[in-house]
């Protein structure tokens, strides 16, 4: 099955809301670039599928299966970004006994491009995390943690720009506030900075550097009853983030949510639950000739064989 058929079938299977807006095209602008963003969040050391013992999600997930699926998608499409939004660590004995080594090794083999820091990635302290970094060949991006007090600054980056064909994709990370989640002895006086201000800075910098798409790996959480900062509030307060790949609240969004803020900016927010039960997949077609918006959404089963 080629990629076009694959997408067409998916479209037929799910049905979709199609909103098309056309802006007059100019002659000669027929170039089209496809980008596929694959994403996970809160995998919580679920290397093996959940045991099939009658529990919720029994038999689901598994990193070796995810690797097969990612390989299949890579064989069908040229430009793939594979991203994660944190809490790779903690939840199974794989973490208690091996400290995250296997999680990072397998993610590296799958070709992850970046992840961010979740609160549980601090569970063995910054020192424990640092010891695992040689196993990760992808960067951990976080823009709103300041490590100047503890000497861990060089291990993390605020953002990274990825180039795919003629596209520049700017990816930055945001971490959650430590209070009540990460004790001081584990984060070693890392300073939490306002995610809204940092996100504005990131949007400015990445746009200035010519990014065609700005993506935020967020561990803030999807939405809260309180006024606590979340992905939905971030999208309201900051214009310029095209896509927020969320985490922390273990929210299963079968279809990413699109919000529009007061300035008229629209941000897409996606999150795929936890434990690697699902792989998020967002296909974007970039074109020079027109602007067309088409949202497809649903959770579908894909048998890659």
């Amino acid at each position: 099955m080629n990629r076009r058929d694959f997408i067409q079938q998916a479209t037929l299977a799910t049905g979709g809301i199609i909103v098309a807006n056309h802006i007059p095209s100019w002659a000669g602008d027929t170039e089209e670039i496809n980008l596929t963003i694959l994403h996970t969040n809160d995998m919580h050391s679920r290397i093996d599928p959940f045991p099939n013992d009658g529990r919720k999600y029994g038999g689901m997930g598994g990193m070796a299966r995810r690797a097969t699926l990612i390989k299949k998608i890579r064989s069908l499409t040229k430009n793939v970004l594979l991203l994660d939004s944190g809490d790779v660590f903690q939840g199974t004995p794989y973490f208690n006994y091996f400290g995250g080594e296997l999680e990072y090794k397998i993610m590296s083999q799958m070709g992850y491009d970046a992840s961010t820091l979740g609160n549980h990635d601090f569970d063995n302290g910054l020192k424990g995390l640092q010891q695992m970094l040689p196993h990760a060949n992808f960067p951990l991006l976080v823009a709103n943690y300041d490590f100047k007090n503890n000497g861990f600054k060089d291990y993390f980056k605020p953002y990274k720009i990825f180039e795919k064909q003629n596209l520049k994709i700017g990816v930055f990370g945001l971490g959650i506030e430590f209070e009540g989640l990460v004790p001081t002895q584990l984060h070693e006086n890392t300073i939490y900075l306002d995610p809204v201000e940092k996100a504005k800075e990131m949007v400015y910098d990445l746009t200035k550097k010519g990014c065609d798409l700005v993506v935020c790996l967020s561990h803030l959480g999807f939405r809260y009853d309180e006024k606590k900062i979340s992905d939905t509030i971030l999208a309201q307060k900051v214009s310029g983030i095209d896509l927020i790949l969320g985490a922390h609240t273990h929210t299963f969004l079968d279809q990413p949510m699109v919000t529009q803020n007061k300035e008229g900016f629209r941000t897409m927010i996606a999150q795929v639950g936890w434990a690697g039960i699902k792989l998020g997949k967002i296909d974007i077609t970039f074109t020079r000739k027109k602007q067309e918006k088409k949202y497809e959404g649903a959770s579908i089963d894909v048998n890659p064989n």
């Binding site: 998916a10 699109v258 629209r266 998020g280 089963d301």
Partner: protein
Amino acid sequence: MSILNKTKSKQIVSTICLLFFLISCKNPLKPGAYNNKSIKIDSTIVPDSAIDAQIRPFRQKLDAIMNRQIGYTKVAFTKTEGESLLGNFVADAIQQKAQKLTSAKVDMGAVNNGGLRSPLPKGKITVGHVFELMPFENELVLVELSGKQMKEYFNYQIGKKLHISNTKVKAKGKYLSEAYINGNPLDTNQTYTIAMSDYMASSEPAFIKAVKQTKLNLKLRDLLIQYFEEHTALKDTIQPTISGRLIIE
């Protein structure tokens, strides 16, 4: 740069486009068609053999430790809304095990709902099940609270899904209306000893960090493993019940 926006900034974008067009004879790339979905990872997907081979030696090491049976349950202990078998089981175990380690009277065991990471199945219980339930390295702590602080503590925890033992708490809406500990009404002149995790004892409400605390050098996970093993040795099956420990009216 913007994927989905155009209405408000259309004019500016058009101007920039035109400028860009004049300079480069090309419009900027704009994200257009979207196709979003999440894909379920289930048994229809064959595991990647190379990754699986990499996991295998790690899995074998763990299986040797984790597959050891430590106990047995007649029903699954699950987390439900409000009081649950899983929550009551852990709160009971915390109180009873703490009581064996101290000469002071332990009045209550407490555990936060978020700290219970996985249910226990019906039937054979292994070390691995307890690791999934309690993956954190949290340790057991005794916390001393005055009767007044107990009231404040309950008021703070109402609606936050705290699991407790040896206690009955009633709340009207957001506020505590009645509390019984050891079968007696909460006495504001008395001091109470609560067993909980060091995580809970160092988080909220803020005053808890400042009260007298005693570490008992026992991980909660090991506490639960021992609790199962001790019951198994006595040929006793652990059977928590729902007994109206927390009633919110």
